[in-house]
Amino acid sequence: MIWAAFATILSHWRRHKLQLAMLVVGLALATALWSAVQAINAEARASYAEAAGQISPDRQDRLVGPEGQVTLAQYQTLRRSGWQVTPVVEMTLGTGNRQLELIGIDVLSNPLLADLMATQDDADAPQTGEPSTAQPPTPADLLLAPGRMFAHPETQFPTAPAGQSWPPIIRSEQVPRGLGLADLSTVVAMAGTPDRFSHLVLLPNQPKGVPPLAEITPELRRQTAASGADTAQLTESFHLNLTAFGLLSFAVGLFIVQGTVALGIEQRRGLFRTLRSLGIPLKTLITIIFLELFAITLLAASLGLVLGFVLAGLLLPGVSATLSGLYGARVDGSLTLQWHWVLSGLAMAVGGMILAGAQSCLSIAKLPIMAPPAAAARGQQACRNHRRTAAVGALLLLGSGILPVAFDGLLAGFVFVGALMIGAALLLPWALSHLLRFGTQTARGPLAQWLWADMRAQLPGLSLALMALLLALATNIGVGTMVSSFRLTFVGWLDQRLASEMYLTIPAREDPAAITDWLTENDVRVLPIRHSDERYEGLPLEVYGVADDPTYRLNWPLLDALPSVWDKIAAGDGILINEQFARRENLSPGDQLRIASDWEAEVLGIYSDYGNPHLQAIAGLDLVVAKRPSISNRRFGLRMDETQIAPVRQQLQDRFDLPATAFINQSALKAQSLQIFDRTFVVTAALNLLTLGVAGFAILTSLLTLWNQRLPQLAPIWAMGITRRQLAWCEILRSVLLAALTAVLALPLGLALGWALLAVVNVEAFGWRLPMALFPLDWLRLLALALLAAAIAAALPARKLSRLHPADLQRVFSNER
């Protein structure tokens, strides 16, 4: 009996294959979007976790030499005076994804290897073409030729330098990818410089009473260790961002499911009535319906997971680019299946299905056995519900208005955005209903009046789909406003920052003085670009020296500064710092800052420095050179007349035999910067488009749901002489009009969202506050897109209507239930 009932209920889908497909596709899309975002997050987090678990060559203070090198003599001097230091040689071999960073350490004195060995159990099988891997190495293996090299299992080795071969490789997950770690004896044999090191690591426990570094090796500079904590915080907010996006996508996807499920139940109302009349208890009926939905959900969710995995694979490179571009955090470009996002995808799908199915089942439960399926009456009841949802929506909006005033921080930002979006969505049916009433009142002519009134009547059935559209449009406007504001600011900032007409990097073999002298003689203003790499609390800090030139005075984008700041900079009285630095350390002009152990300066001003993940400072060139006499002087900004660019470049090339790579045109540099910027936000754009697509799909399913209820309402109009063709156009017009009204309401919501993203979320996530810019053309394009989506969604029902046999319409009257 139960099986028979189950088979009967299932038979509906056999006859409505398109509807089944829609249900499955809707749920699969929702699951796909959600699980793709989860997969990306999980992958990025796994990457961080792996990096944290790996040996890190940056975690100790180090001593660096003026030319980026430390000599054996300096190392001996330090050790013989008691300092516990250990030398490190770094070199890079190969290119592209076969690039390998080689790090040579003294395994006797560097704790890195001990860390590595502590978890090193067995050696992995060698990869093809590599020297065979040895068993756990003895110090003699490590210290004496050919030595051993530690590398991640996935690290690819480039061809060894001519006349040399790689030592046996020991594979270990503990070593970061793209890095080969070996004893100095091994790396030095490849580098050929046994008496030069990249830097010395200062070991943690130094003996008591050793002479100060400044006395024994005054030419070496101490840099503090990297902490990495900030990146974690920043990337965390980025992931929260992504998660919010995923949740939104899922919510939009759920509207489709809700629509389809409602349709499936609506259409089977007669069948349910029959089944119940035949004696199937209500409980059994509802259980069967849920079983059916559950089976469909599993099918759809599995499809969605596959789709999500593919989608994540496509989006991940963009995410990696964003994370490395904005925060300097490294995420591997490859995706691995992780059980927790698979589970989360399934759970969301099942949860969503229960949510979507519950409402429909409730309506069945409430349905009196013999009651006719009076769609219109239920529609009117839904209309009364508008007020209740509208009241909840208004409360949420009110709450969201208070939030940013009352609370600070990222989470408050997200709660605000969430409350704003849900509140507005709940208010939508009420607002649309009023707009439509106004339309009805102002309409001229019976057909127009009917069209408005009909729209109002259809509102309950379409409201969920329209809410989805509202959310999608608002998200598009909000995120679009953020990204475009960001881009506009960035472009403006690039114009300021890249003020020089041409940038020149003089190759090491050339004498910079000869070239700069020639340039000066030829009326080109030469602005040296010299910087010193410092470390501030372990984070890389670049300190640039700038010449006293109108270029900086006129163009440099200062956010805040003391009076006559450029005179003070020229006089060496202080420094400028970038916004990131100021926000991180909570600094304002006038504060004192110690940027290196031997360098304290007053903060004279703060400048915007978008897209730079690192701390930066600017000081007068004379001051920087006085502090760091040995910084290289090979990069220059060249100021000249526009027309001079090509000839000067040609003459420089001819006269000094400079390679083409020595020059970068300002325009090329800007294009490159923008390219990086755009790549950063490619994920956002892709998610935006997908969400909009899903919303369009939701409208389609809702219209199809309404299809059967439409006939009784359309038949009288047809009978009054309106052709089927006209009625079909009316269908499309109706859909487009509703979409347009929704879009109008989505605009303020989107702008509010954009404001929240810029003023709250962005500051937390990226470290910069951006001015908000409005882009009405973008809105128009989006509106067009929304209307197009609505038209396409209505096209299928409209086509069906225009091809409907007159007899079917007539039957409405003869067959009135």
Binding site: L72, Y75, Q76, R79, R80, S81, G82, Q84, D106, L108, S109, P111, L113, A114, D115, M117, A118, P136, T138, P139, A140, L143, L144, A145, D183, L184, S185, V188, A189, P194, D195, N205, Q206, P207, K208, G209, V210
Partner: protein
């Protein structure tokens, strides 16, 4: 840092064996492995001075080992240890002496310094490979060094030396003057270590008078006292079944001194030297000295005997040797116990105790 992992990696490995402390088939820290390719001590080879104060790279291992019992102006007793170990990763004949890569040197140097008070024990360690000018032994004047730790003579001889070491919590700077002759251990410096004939070259200078300064966390302390230098080199000093040793250098109040040791293997092998007040030395025949552990102390998770009974019937000696500070554990790349002791019983005095393989 995980001490045991470093232990596994370095010290054990330096001696080509992957075991750290504890009983094992190839002796404590691999000292029982075969000596293939390395020179092996031969009996009846006269030691030559001052040449033999310097390094013997053709042998696998070697050490310059100085311990001292000191008394501060504050009346407290102190003990210090200063040791430089040399270990060759492969026989010298295979070492590419002319290799331009100075980092491929096969001689590894390790320094240990310890300072023990009644309540505290400080130690530190230094490691370097040879050929870098950071560690080694120079002949004229005599100078054994690693980093800024050094044992420096005024000439090629070692009768007057300056001793210096410092860690992150302690330092010492001491002047040592010997008022007695060098003592050749075993048979004229050929010291047998097992019934199978494993042996080392071994001589001592047990007659140092010391004056100098200790730096402690509480501040500097002026000290005076007595020091004992051991010089030993070999390629396979232990038999394969020997897991460790207990070594005593005792200074009795009547001016006599005794070096005694037992090597723990399948059988216990004991030996030593009796040193008269005038410095003349008499080897103790294997087995005449008996050692009995009276009680143990739990140190770093190991049971270490810190109270001993030593009996030497031929000298009517029956004494109890007790650690001044039971926690004198050297948790270095290869861990062992090394600290000052007090002697009571048929004779009284002070000295040093070293215990390995626990």
């Amino acid at each position: 840092m995980n001490a045991s992992s470093i232990c596994n990696l370095f010290w054990a490995g330096l001696l080509a064996i992957g075991v750290c402390g504890g009983a094992n088939a190839q002796g404590y820290a691999g000292l029982g492995t075969t000596a293939e390719g390395f020179a092996v001590p031969q009996p009846n080879t006269p030691l030559r001075f001052p040449q033999d104060h310097a390094a013997h790279p053709e042998y696998r291992i070697e050490w310059w080992y100085l311990t001292a019992n000191l008394t501060g102006v504050d009346g407290q007793d102190y003990g210090i240890q200063w040791t430089l170990f040399r270990s060759a990763l492969r026989p010298g004949s295979q070492d590419q002496e002319n290799d331009a890569n100075i980092w491929s040197n096969s001689q590894i140097w390790m320094g240990h310094a310890g300072l023990t008070t009644a309540e505290a024990h400080y130690f530190d360690e230094r490691l370097s490979r040879g050929g870098l000018g950071i560690a080694g032994v120079e002949a004229a004047p005599f100078r054994a060094f690693i980093d800024d730790w050094h044992m420096t003579g005024t000439s090629e001889e070692i009768d007057q030396i300056q001793l210096f070491a410092r860690g992150d919590a302690f330092a010492y700077d001491l002047s040592l003057i010997a008022d007695g002759p060098l003592v050749l251990q075993g048979n004229q410096g050929y010291s047998v270590k097992s019934a199978q004939g494993q042996a080392s070259y071994y001589y001592s200078q047990p007659h140092y008078r010391i004056r100098g300064t200790l730096q402690l966390p509480e501040g500097p302390v002026e000290v005076t006292g007595d020091g004992w230098l051991d010089r030993e080199w070999s390629s396979q000093p232990l038999a394969e079944d020997q897991s460790g040793w207990d070594w005593f250098s005792l200074r009795f109040d009547d001016g006599t001194k005794m070096m005694g040791f037992q090597l723990r293997g399948t059988d216990i092998f004991t030996s030593g030297t009796w040193i008269a007040a005038d410095g003349s030395a008499t080897p103790l025949e294997p087995g005449v000295l008996t050692t009995t552990a009276l009680s143990t102390t739990q140190v770093e998770g190991r049971d270490v005997p810190t109270r001993w009974r030593l009996q030497l019937p031929e000298r009517d000696l029956d004494i109890t040797v007790e650690a001044m500070n039971a926690n004198a554990w050297m948790g270095a790349s290869f861990p062992y116990w090394e600290g000052p002791v007090r002697v009571s019983g048929s004779a009284t005095g002070i000295g040093y105790l070293e215990m390995t393989g626990y």
